[in-house]
Symmetry: D2
Subunit: 140 residues, 4 copies
Amino acid sequence: MNMQTEQLKTLRDAAFRASQNAYVPYSKFAVGAALLMRNGNVITGCNVENVSYGLANCAERTAVFRAIAEGYNGADIVAVVVYTPGQKAYAPCGACRQVLAEFLQPETLITSTSEQASQQWRLTDLLPDAFHFDVSAYRE
Amino acid sequence: MNMQTEQLKTLRDAAFRASQNAYVPYSKFAVGAALLMRNGNVITGCNVENVSYGLANCAERTAVFRAIAEGYNGADIVAVVVYTPGQKAYAPCGACRQVLAEFLQPETLITSTSEQASQQWRLTDLLPDAFHFDVSAYRE
Amino acid sequence: MNMQTEQLKTLRDAAFRASQNAYVPYSKFAVGAALLMRNGNVITGCNVENVSYGLANCAERTAVFRAIAEGYNGADIVAVVVYTPGQKAYAPCGACRQVLAEFLQPETLITSTSEQASQQWRLTDLLPDAFHFDVSAYRE
Amino acid sequence: MNMQTEQLKTLRDAAFRASQNAYVPYSKFAVGAALLMRNGNVITGCNVENVSYGLANCAERTAVFRAIAEGYNGADIVAVVVYTPGQKAYAPCGACRQVLAEFLQPETLITSTSEQASQQWRLTDLLPDAFHFDVSAYRE
């Protein structure tokens, strides 16, 4: 899809607002994510950390899990915009790329924005040769 | 808190409906969770799996992450009801107990229900001596 | 099993030494774990963190994964001793309890030690009503 | 580095043997990984699953965690070879790519092999624009 500048700004604002809900007492690194759904709705997420660091959940995954819980099909996600604090606009971590790859089309645009920067990728550029397979086929 | 029978039934129904949104192509084990919030609202979650099994997220955690993303404080969660398929009512896994312990009071009631069974615990009974600490204090 | 004082000291020393290998640039909280195996060998682990906090792995899990990779059966683990820094002896997080419960007998002793304290539990006390099930049975 | 054919074969054999230790009652998908260390040693890992799917650990991560626990520095890892079952040679999942990126040089070669196929990438090709940052710098 081609996102209009205005739509991107709306998503970026939603991601920024979501970052304000982040629970990040350990990293202090508050991230927000906004998913544009096929029906035009926007689903947001933030990172939620834990004293056992390995149980932290990133903003992108929170948004995806929330979309599924709200009854969307993962294939309904048509664009992802992330807000990361600081100067650089950080790309999603590998775990989030993998979760996105479970649901999104490879060409889906992922945009990261910060106060001063912005970067955009297709999902397939962030996770080339994604690990995917037809489990049921394998089992036979 | 003491939950009324009717309130418990409402939460159980919400958890069951949430389980119908679960994305479980690998385990086929569709779980739903419902959080009762201090303001009376109910926030639900379902499990969301991944071809890389370690990136699966359980229903309880989906609900907690969603509550935080919606702007709630973790301390606003006053009861948790889970729906698990099959005969037995399964308790949350250890990872979910740890995520719940990050936010809930130790006395918070966790109820698991299935088609034919029900079990109830206080969080502190599910995760005694929970791993917790004041990170900032440790750092000095 | 009943651990002799001397055996416990050996395991505690192994856990402490393992903690010195911990990769903890984010939390600075270096933990070590030592597993006593049925054949008398000791397998150790430390925590290994990641800039994406959710990909951190605790010491207890590192030790279990290592034991499996070395060809042990999970049932060969007969005792677990953990070293945590600071004054208090911290219990394993919920995720580690769940991983231990996949393999260990419920009565297996888990001991946590720090410079100044020590605590001991049976696994079943740390993760009562552990989430377990016969997946293959469920599938039919 | 340029791996000799013979060295690659040695690593591939080690990864295959490691896969035979995999604990995979849920996916039945037994993976092995072998790390070539700077000193010529080989450290292996396998996947270790859990009834709570999200607590599964992949072979690549088991090998990295084991290397750290054995006292290696992550920077000592100079090549990674994975064995995956079936016909296709699968690339590591996103979570494993992120854990590898915490430690390896971007140019490090990752090779995946199966019974009938083989693929090779540089780490930077598998996880372009990897999420990395200097946390301490951010905190100020």
